[in-house]
Amino acid sequence: MEKENATPNPRRDFLKKSSLITAVALTPTAAIKAADNQLDERIAQAIENVPCSIEINGTKHTMKIDPRITLLDLLRERLHLTGTKKGCDYGQCGACTVHVDGQRVNSCLTLAVMNDGKKVTTIEGLANGSELHPMQAAFIKHDGFQCGYCTPGQIMSAVACIREGHADNEGEIREFMSGNICRCGAYPNIVAAIQEVKKGGKNI
C-alpha cells in the first residue's frame, strides 16, 4: 500500500477535484458543506473512503475504508488478524488463503470493499475455542510444515479442498492444493494430513 505523498501531487489534486464533482452528485449536503468550509482534504478522505460491512469470524465489522486496501491488508493491518500471511501479494503462493462465503480465495487479490456483505473466515476462526480444528491437529500430527509461514493458507485451503470433494486420492489432492506453495517442501506431509482428515470422515 502506498503511503500518502507529502509533496504536491497533481494527479491526486485532479482526483480530489473529480471526486468532488461526483460527491456533489452522490451526497450533496455533506460535500457542499465541506466545500464551503474549504475542507479539501477531508472531502477527499470522505469520498475516497468507501462504506463497507464484512462479517469476519462471526463478528460484523462496519467501516469506511480506502478502496485500495485488499482484504488481506484489512485483516492484517486494520483488524490485526495476522494469522493470514502475506507471501507474494500477487496470488501466486496461497499464503493469504481465507474463506469468503465458504469458498477459498486469495485475500491479496480482492479489494476489501468488493467483499461488502460477505462472511469471511480466517485461520483464527477455524478452531472451536481451545479445541483445534481436525485439520490443524492433523498438520501437527503429520508434521505438515517446517517454517510454518505457508501453514495458515495451506490449512484453509485443505479444509476447502475436502469440502469441495477434491480430496479423494493423492493425485487429486496435489492438483487441487497446487495454489499453495510450500518453500520448505513439506508436501508429502501436507498430503498425509489431508488424507487422514478425509478418511476420518468427519463433517468439517
Binding site: 502506498e2 469520498i47 468507501v50 485488499t70 488463503t97 486469495n106 487479490l109 495454489g179 499453495n180
Partner: protein
C-alpha cells in the same frame, strides 16, 4: 496501488454509464488479473466499476446450447453438471487453469479479458508496445520462451494466456456484450485480435462495452480432450495447449474441432487441420498430417523454437487421447 475511485454498480445501465464517464475506467469482477496489474502499476485506471452485484451469474440451457452469465465463476462453470457432461472441453480447460482459489474468484468475463503474462508487459522498466504503445517490443530479441509462433508481428509476440478461451474457440462460442450503443454478439473467432501494429488492443471490445454472457451452441462432439503442456504439473501457464474435439462414427471422423493455446496473441483455431481430418479414419498418420497442416506458417523467435516441435506433438497427442487409440 495508485489512487482510484471505486463505484459499486447495482444495474447494468449504471455500470455502463459509470464506465463511459471516465476514459481510463475499468470494470472489476474477480479482480485476479486487474488488481495484480494495478499493484505493479502496469494498469492504472482512475476509476473501478465493481460489477459483482449485477445479476449475470446464471448458467442455463438456451436454444439447445448453453448460456453462461459473464459473472459465473470459473470454478462454478468447471463443476457444472451439464457442462461436465455436454462440454467437457470447457470444464477440462478451466480446471487446467490457475489454482482452486483463483478459479473461485475469476469470472468467465474476466477470463476472456485477461492480459498476457509476457514478463516485459509486467516489467514497467522495459519497453512494451502493449503496455506503452510505440516503445518497442522487448520480447522480440529478448527472453521469449513463452511467446507466440503464429500471427506475431515485430510490434508484439505475446500470447493470450487463457485456457478457457481455447476451449470456447473450439466450441464455436459467442460473446454477448452490452454498451452505450446497444447490445451485440461477437463470435469467439473475432473476439480476440492479432497484434498487428496495435498490440495494446487484446480484443475488439469497445472500452465502454460490458460482457454479459458467453453462449455455446449445441455440440455433436463425441470425443474430447484438452491437453495442456507446461513447466510443472499444475498451476502454470501453457507452453502449448490443444483443445481437440471429434465427432466419431465408429472409426470415421465426421467432424473435428481443434484450437491451440500458448501459441498466438489469440486462441488459435486450426481450421485447415480440422478439414483435413473430416471423413478420414482415426489413425496416427491422419493426426500427424493434420498437425503438419496446422504448423504451416509457424515461426520461432529463438527461445521458443522448441514450440515448433512441441505444438505438433501436442496436437497428435491430444487427438490420440480424445479418440482413445
Amino acid at each position: 496501488m495508485k489512487q482510484f475511485q471505486y463505484i459499486r454498480s447495482v444495474s447494468q445501465k449504471a455500470a455502463i454509464s459509470a464506465i463511459t464517464q471516465e476514459p481510463t475506467a475499468k470494470f472489476v469482477a474477480g479482480g485476479t488479473n486487474l488488481l495484480d496489474l494495478m499493484k505493479r502499476h502496469v494498469m492504472t485506471p482512475e476509476r473501478l466499476v465493481d460489477i459483482n452485484k449485477l445479476p449475470l451469474r446464471d448458467i442455463k440451457e438456451e436454444n439447445k446450447g448453453l448460456h453462461i452469465g459473464a459473472l459465473a465463476l470459473n470454478s462454478t462453470v468447471a463443476e457444472h453438471a451439464s457442462i461436465v457432461k455436454r462440454f467437457p472441453l470447457l470444464a477440462e480447460a478451466l480446471n487446467a487453469g490457475a489454482s482452486a482459489q483463483l478459479r473461485n474468484m475469476a469470472t468467465v468475463g474476466g477470463n476472456l479479458m485477461q492480459r498476457t503474462r509476457c514478463p516485459y508487459f509486467y516489467d514497467t522498466t522495459t519497453p512494451c508496445n502493449k503496455r506503452e504503445p510505440g516503445t518497442g517490443c522487448s520480447a522480440l530479441n529478448g527472453f521469449n520462451r513463452m511467446h507466440a509462433i503464429f500471427g506475431a508481428t515485430p510490434h508484439c509476440i505475446a500470447v493470450n494466456p487463457s485456457d478457457m478461451n481455447v476451449a470456447l474457440m473450439a466450441l464455436d462460442a459467442s460473446v454477448q456484450v452490452s454498451g452505450p450503443k446497444g447490445d451485440r454478439i461477437i463470435k469467439m473467432q473475432d473476439f480476440h485480435r492479432l497484434p498487428g501494429d496495435q498490440p495494446e488492443k487484446d480484443t475488439i471490445l469497445d472500452k465502454n462495452e460490458l460482457i454479459t454472457a458467453v453462449t455455446i451452441p449445441a455440440s455433436t462432439l463425441t470425443h474430447n480432450h484438452y491437453l495442456k503442456v507446461r513447466d510443472r504439473n499444475s498451476y502454470a501457464f501453457a507452453l502449448v495447449s490443444v483443445a481437440a474435439g471429434l465427432t466419431l462414427d465408429g472409426k470415421t471422423i465426421k467432424a473435428a474441432r481443434l484450437a491451440m493455446g500458448g501459441v498466438a496473441h489469440k486462441p488459435w483455431r486450426l481450421t485447415a487441420a480440422e478439414q483435413s481430418l473430416q471423413g478420414k479414419q482415426v489413425s496416427i498418420e491422419a493426426f500427424q498430417q493434420a498437425a503438419d497442416i496446422a504448423m504451416q506458417g509457424a515461426k520461432g523467435y529463438e527461445h521458443n523454437d522448441f514450440k515448433l516441435k512441441l505444438a505438433p506433438n501436442t496436437i497428435v497427442e491430444a487427438l490420440k487421447i480424445a479418440s482413445r487409440i
